[in-house]
């Protein structure tokens, strides 16, 4: 009875998608898109959002076909036991690596902006501890946590965007396609977005715990669109204020955007600290989702339901991956590599599953 009450609602699902997608990458995303698309970055972002949308729709479709199974579960049903489990192992490994790298990315941003002398390990350990102590909770708690943080993440970001409006220049964002547009560059720029935001895969672990898994499409897509819209506005605003040339000289354009802002009554003379706090919240919710996939995934894969133990065991592994890159440049190389060749193909993966499931006539029992 109590279990029925603790089911995840559609609204919570969309908030999970929002807070998972808005995360570490928020600070540096603009830079990578501008690198490829120049002043066409806002449009590239839009295209990227549409590409990602296809991915999430596919994911929900598979989820609806197997409303009682997580991705680990239907992998085995659709692809057969051995191959399916291999795919699951691959997905879990991917997310372990991503969790490590994103933790490192967060720590680098912290080091670069506020704690320049503190060893990077401190920020990493603090965040991993936080995820570790939360990730073994129930799915309902996971949903509550995401739900709670979303307003705390969105309100400061939107506030900064409103204040930044004064410094925006129209001539920074046009032409919409960028200068000397080439299809290849543009698509590369557009693909940055689904690369950074492919982490919505977490919903494949949540759908079976929903009140009405069959209606999950609405929640997931709405959440995706809202998160996409916010990222679009952030990218557009950053480009509008700085222009593509200036952005290319920065590591974290969004943070500097927060630094440009003067609040009318000077309570806080620099508002970037507030942005940074809400960004830390966003990082946490994103990493929590990664951790959730890792812990739940491993437990389901090995039919070993000691979430607490697994989350404690996963922590040192994530930590080691996080401190593996030598410096910030290596780290970004690794991240781009992993997201490009692993996370991006994952967008097509649900469709592959759908096709195989249709051929092999596999269906989740209702």
């Amino acid at each position: 009875m109590n279990k029925q009450r603790d089911k995840v609602t559609n609204l919570q699902l969309s908030f999970i998608v929002i807070s998972t997608m808005i995360g570490v990458s928020l600070l540096s995303l603009t830079r990578f898109i501008v690198e490829y698309s120049g002043s066409g970055a806002p449009f590239a972002t839009l295209v990227g959002i549409v590409i990602g949308l296809i991915g999430i729709v596919g994911l929900v479709l598979v989820g609806k076909r197997f409303p009682t199974k997580t991705i680990i579960g239907y992998n085995e049903i659709i692809l057969g036991k051995s191959f399916g489990r291999m795919m699951s192992v691959f997905i879990i490994l991917l997310f372990i690596i991503l969790a490590g790298l994103e933790t490192r990315q967060y720590a680098e941003a912290i080091k670069g902006s506020i704690l320049s002398e503190t060893p990077i390990q401190v920020a990493i350990i603090a965040m991993i501890l936080l995820c570790m102590t939360t990730s073994y909770q129930s799915v309902a708690t996971f949903a509550y946590i995401h739900f709670f943080y979303v307003p705390l993440i969105l309100i400061p970001i939107l506030l900064i965007l409103v204040f930044a409006f004064r410094d925006a220049e129209m001539y920074h964002v046009t032409p919409f396609l960028g200068h000397e547009p080439s299809i290849k560059e543009f698509i590369n720029g557009a693909l940055v977005l689904p690369q950074a935001l492919g982490n919505f895969l977490v919903i494949a672990m949540v759908i079976p715990f929903m009140k009405e898994p069959m209606k999950s499409m609405k929640g997931a897509v709405w959440g995706y669109l809202i998160a996409g819209l916010i990222i679009f506005i952030v990218v557009t605003m950053t480009v509008a204020v700085f222009g593509d040339k200036e952005i290319m000289q920065m590591f974290w354009p969004t943070l500097i955007l927060g630094r440009m802002i003067q609040v009318p009554t000077e309570i806080l003379s620099r508002i970037d600290a507030i942005l940074l706090i809400s960004w830390i919240y966003a990082v946490f919710t994103t990493l929590l989702s990664y951790y959730f996939i890792i812990v739940r995934g491993i437990c389901e894969l090995f039919r070993f339901h000691h979430y607490r133990l697994i989350s404690v065991l996963a922590a040192p592994i994530v930590f080691i991956i996080a401190i593996l890159p030598d410096d910030i440049f290596h780290m970004y190389d690794y991240i781009l590599l992993v997201t490009k060749f692993a996370l991006l193909p994952l967008l097509v993966y649900p469709f592959m599953l759908l096709v195989v499931a249709a051929i092999r006539r596999k269906k989740g029992h209702e």
Partner: protein, 535 residues
Amino acid sequence: MVLWKRKKKSDKEQIPSGQIIDNSQDKQLTHDLVHNIDTLTNVFQKDTDFSSRTFHIVGETPAAAFYISSLVDKEKINRDIIHPLQETNSRADRTTLLGKKNLLLSLLYDVLYYSDGEIVSGYDEILDAILHGKTVVLVDGYHDALILDTFTLEKRGITEPESERVVRGPREGFIEVLQTNISLLRYRLPVPEFRAESIEIGEKTKTKVAVCYLDNIADDDLVLEVKKRINDINVDRILDAGYIEQFIQDNPRSPFPQVQNTERPDRAVGNILEGRVVILVDGSPFALIVPAVFNQFYQTSEDYLSRFIMSSIIRFIRFVALLFSLTFSSLYITVLSFHPEMIPAQFMVAASSGRAGVPFPVVVEVLLMEIAMEILREATIRMPQQVGGALSIVGVLVIGQAAVSAGFVSPITVVIIALSTIGSFATPSYNAAIAFRMLKFPLIILSGIIGLLGLAIGLMFIVNHMLSLRSFGVPYFTPLSPWNKEGVKDSFIRAPLRWFKERPSELHPKDRIRVESSVKEGPTNPLANRKRGKS
């Protein structure tokens, strides 16, 4: 050997009276009154307040009354028990009375003017009755006993609750006696569905605990769970509701209270009407309310009495005060020691002047001051009231004035500490305020180590913990997360009363609708219908 023997003897002396009976051969009462009197007096022979009185019923049949004089109303015994029994000119004909087959029954039915009486035969029950302030009448020739409730207790009058004062609203508070407390509830809830189920717990104290709820509103599972948890308590004593609270809460390791307590009957009734369960404990002026969510801890019963805009603003201020008490001092450390760029330059220049000459880092300064503040607060609570006032003056003088002029702390720190302390006083619920006050110390240390990041991470630890808490299955942050539109109307804002159409759904009340919705328009103007100039 001798030693051992002696020890055993002393052991025997210490064994409570009840167990001697068990060891003696005559567990049962016999028909012989003299023997019975002996056995009973034997049990209580050392107790000064035990009385036994022998007399003759209608001048003939020997009988005896036993009671513990400190627990009974003696006048009542004289007037309503001894007097009618001895009365020779009673209504009932004495021969008919004595000729009756069962004298005890007819005494109970015909002679005694007593509302609360029964006939009991078990020995233990008789002892139990004596210990609970009842008077036991034994009649020669019967091994049963008449038990009459003559219990009376010195109790204080109903006074205004000390811990939950209101400017406006009822001044009644619960007192220690369970019966009175139940009467206070029933007086406000004159409906047949109101239940006050009694459970006795505490191996030695045998405390009565009453579980009060509305049968047609409260969720059955919730009531069952409450009763189950109370029944599961295995302890020798329950001296106050606080004992119960610690045994029935979901997560005993959490710093946050998961059970609400109140001294106010009106608040208890309000909660019962929402579908919650109120637990009253004999001997405690505090009622427990379950399930409790975080929102309730900064609400007062007065919020519902004033207009909604005012109460919404005040609730919001209380919420801000709560946040202040938790984060203000650590935010101050963060800003001063790690990120002075956050404050305007003018203020930074001023702050650095204030700190000139202070020998410690801000963290140490703040920690010292916060600890001093806690000591001061604790001292004021425990002091007698007359001394307390003097103490707070001394404390304020010492800490505020002398510490600054001695160069021990900077004046700005004093302001910050004062704000964070006052913030915690603005929280109506004492146990929630204390949780936040204590949690501020780890935050201070964390932000002393890694500044803003530490503060953010520390806050997240606290919030994540709160989000994973449940009180009787209800998530602690309802109605915020999980979101509940109806519930938000009564959270950090208080919507107009007529908007409250449904009971909080997280409690799964049987009857969700408070009142059948009837279309009601705003107040009409009785003067509007009059035609002009006619009156």
